[in-house]
Amino acid sequence: MSSFRTAKGGRIKRKDAISFSFEGKAYTGVKGDTLASALLANGVHFVGRSYKYHRPRGIMSAGQEESSALVGIDRGQGRYDTNTRATTQELFEGLKAQSQHCWPSLRWDIGEMNSLASPILSAGFYYKTFMWPKSFWKRVYEPIIRKSAGLGRAPRAVDPDVYASRYAHCDVLIVGGGPAGLAAALAASRSGAKVILADEQSEIGGALLSDPGSRIDDEESWSWLASAVVALAADENVTILNRTTAFGYYHQNFVGLVERLSDHLESPSSNLPRERLWRVRAKRIVLATGAIERPLVFAGNDRPGVMLAGAARTYLNRYGVRVGDKPVVVTSHDSAYLTAFDMAENGVGVEAIIDLCTDVSPELLKGAARLGIEVLPGHTITRTKGRLRISSIYAAPIEPDGSVGPERTIDCDALLMCGGWTPSVHLFSQSRGTLSWREDIGAYVPDVYAQNASSAGACDGHYLLSEALNGGAAAGQAAAIEAGYKAGKPNTYEVAEEATCSGTLIVELPTGANPARIKAFVDFQHDVTAKDIRLAVREGFHSIEHIKRYTTAGMATDQGKTSNLSELAIASKTLSRPIAEVGLTTFRPPYTPTSFGAFAGRSRGNLFDVTRKSPIDSWAEKRGAVFEPVSLWRRARYFPRDNEDMHAAVARECKATRSSIGISDASTLGKIEVVGPDSAEFLNRIYTNAWTKLGVGRCRYGLMLGEDGFIFDDGVVGRLALDRFHVTTTTGGAPRVMAHMEDYLQTEWPDLDLWLTSITEQWAVIALNGPNVRKLIEPFVEGIDLDKQAFPHMAIKEGKIYGVPTRLFRVSFTGELGFEINVPSRYGLTVWKRLIEEGARYDIVPYGTEALHVLRAEKGYIIVGQDTDGTQTPDDVGMAWAIGRNKHDFIGKRSLTRPDMLVSNRKQLVGLLTRDPKNLLEEGAQIVATAHPSPPAKMIGHVTSSYWSETLQHSIAMGVVEGGRARMGAELYVPMPDGVHQVQVVEPVFYDQEGGRLNV
């Protein structure tokens, strides 16, 4: 066993030795250790370097507030955790830790030279220089600044771990498993309320874990703790979550917690998530989040070996580790005496207690005397010595006039400081509660609650164990009652011989030196000194938010947990304004840094988002289709054969469709069944078109606008019965259209009698196009006469195909004879396969969305979202014919007469032909009117669709052009990086203008 481990005591398992390494050197710890306690047990204090000056730094705390002892932990295979606090990392066999932010080594770090330049590296120095010569910024200064950035090593490989999440509900959520939280949980549990008790540490117990000596109701505290935990665990209404940090307090008592499931294990099972995000909604919340000890601000307060007094006590009592053999204590608060006493009782020779206060309580003095500890009341520390570990301090009396008397040197190997305690009000503040300043304890405490919550114990400014227990019990009982349970009187607890717990807020220690010349650190990680804060104030940064942002105090990885109050106190003094007026910076989630993985949860890879697949998708996949995402769907874009590229495949698919039969999967189109006596009237209002006169068994192309008059969606609507329509929408527009229709139906026209039902996924849709389609399907269709007269273009009828019910549409988006076969989804694949089989005799060819786009463009049919972009009216795209002339109103109608909708130079859809038939324009290319434009050039439009037409043996394009229809036949220009392309404006129908091929 290493030399700084005590002979007995603590909560560690001394017999379970654990090997680990730090900086490549092997050490041994024991089960129950944190990395920090194990290092301290081996006498290692110096573990890191600070951000700006690269000063040697040690272990400051014993908890999550640590801002100095940050290390990298490498578990291999992408499991590298940067900026990990040694004080919270539990030790496991084989743990490998490395220091960070130093080169070439922790001991010899070239960055330490920054310290020499420190006089000019004061707060915000970078705003004042690096400006000349101007060209140096980009070439010299900025690269250097960016290179020196950052703290921890950047990750290099993909993390193999999985992360889980869970919603949970409870009556009472208790945050913090210290004495207040435990007492609250016991009280709430007795009422039968559903309780969740969460604590960030590996063990429930909080401050009790460092305090074996207290007696609760005549029982040793650790024995009381053990029975409390047993009692709670036995209650099935209580969920105890250890290693779980409540990081964020959101609306209506919604709290985010992260449970760490595997970071403490040597070799976790692969099914075990690394962390679990708990999203808890609680009726009532009890905050029992404790308090954080404050460091003191004096010259050299940052050397390795300088530590918070409470942390030293935790290392001693909980981990069985002496942080030094000859410590000195410096304090402005009584609680540090407990550390000194506990250490002395464990045989450590405490060199002195330097108390900044003059009137020390007689009991404490008596206690010190009994243990042979020298107390220096009314003294200060003026400086410290020791390069990689503190070796001595200089103590001096504070004279009545505030000046400092003669210095005296005291040798030491650890300096334990305490500047009082700061209640952890982070979650309370996040809940939007307001704080009030309590002068007597020198701290902010919860005042007005914005949500259903209460606070108990140290986070409420009540530091005594008895206050925590009794306050917690009362809070737990009240919470259970609030949540609707009957709770009896809460337990009252008695604590024997409780020590006093008071102090004075002295932040910056008096010194004989010029305060502008010394480095007294406030934010240890960011190397912000008291002088920096004074400089910020001097430069006019008077708001605490300004001071924080200018100096970066409180912006380190501990988010100011140990520095906020010191910063505030120094600012307040410099501004000569009371602390309460200077105010606090806002507390933000997360309470402690929380892994991205925990937030991302299972939303990775194929669970990052839904991939919707049509009933026919599996066939397309087997057939080697190349897919493209269209909203959440994936659709086959083309079906390459024999290593064809897209161009070749699309040309072949188009040709086959025009000459015989093409088959495509249109299942993703949105579909809505509109049923009820007022259906036609409803559609009249929703679409620009008129619907009243549409006959049963007929279809019509419908155009839908937003209230702003711009095209919103389109699709074919078929009338199945007088009171029943089958509406189709674009694939991507389906959810929006349904929401849009429901909105108007429910809130604008609730008097209309009809209902909307989404049937998108009820029907698989197979589109067949080409001159031979009728011949192919006629033998297999029952109940529908497919004759040209009986079932003309734009007809719909219900019947059967292959014995399966179908809604058969005669429609075409290609300009060829076309049918869309709707069959119930589960039959879709089989019907498709049959059609492919039977179609073989006609050389049927499956085509994807790309060929579809070419075929429709040859006919000048628009695609909403490609040829329109949310700024086109029906007239802009040449569809004024779709507007029902006699209709009193429809959505968007009024907007069409706004002044700008009536101007002549609106962009209008036109066809574009290049002079060279092989010249294919790029979609998105801009159109200008002059042959030699120079930037900024007046652009009069752009190419919206452009394809090679195999049928026409010519490239074709559509575009929108200012006053386009008046420019028919005109020559325009498309300037590209490789030269200017000349185009002619033509009608946007390139193929079968008369529509003869449709009506066969």
Partner: protein, 100 residues
């Protein structure tokens, strides 16, 4: 995550079940063509956007699928009350009453 009381389901449900649908009580005119450009602009685009009490529409899209109205404080994001679509704008007194 907001907790929203659906006046149809009569339950408090999580925000992720709902969609926001803009300010409430902006009535679409029966005859929009009678509106001047300025009046139409106001209908389309002008919203009260208050710091404080806001009357707004939500739809319980992943629940009962009904649109309804809510009164919410835009500074605290607290819902003061919710009520069914078509009901008139609640008075101050009704809102105060609903808080309890």
């Amino acid at each position: 995550m907001l907790l929203i009381r659906c006046p149809y389901c009569e339950q408090d449900r999580a925000e992720v079940e709902f969609s926001y649908a803009g300010e409430a009580h902006i009535e679409r005119p029966v005859d929009p063509s009678a509106f001047s450009d300025a009046e139409w602009e106001a209908f389309l685009f002008l919203r009260s956007n208050p710091r404080g009490t806001h009357f707004e529409r939500w739809v319980h899209i992943h629940g009962c699928a009904r649109h309804f109205n809510a009164v919410r404080d835009t500074v605290s994001d607290k819902f003061l009350m919710t009520y069914k679509a078509g009901k008139p704008r609640p008075t101050k007194r009704e809102i105060e009453g609903a808080k309890k």
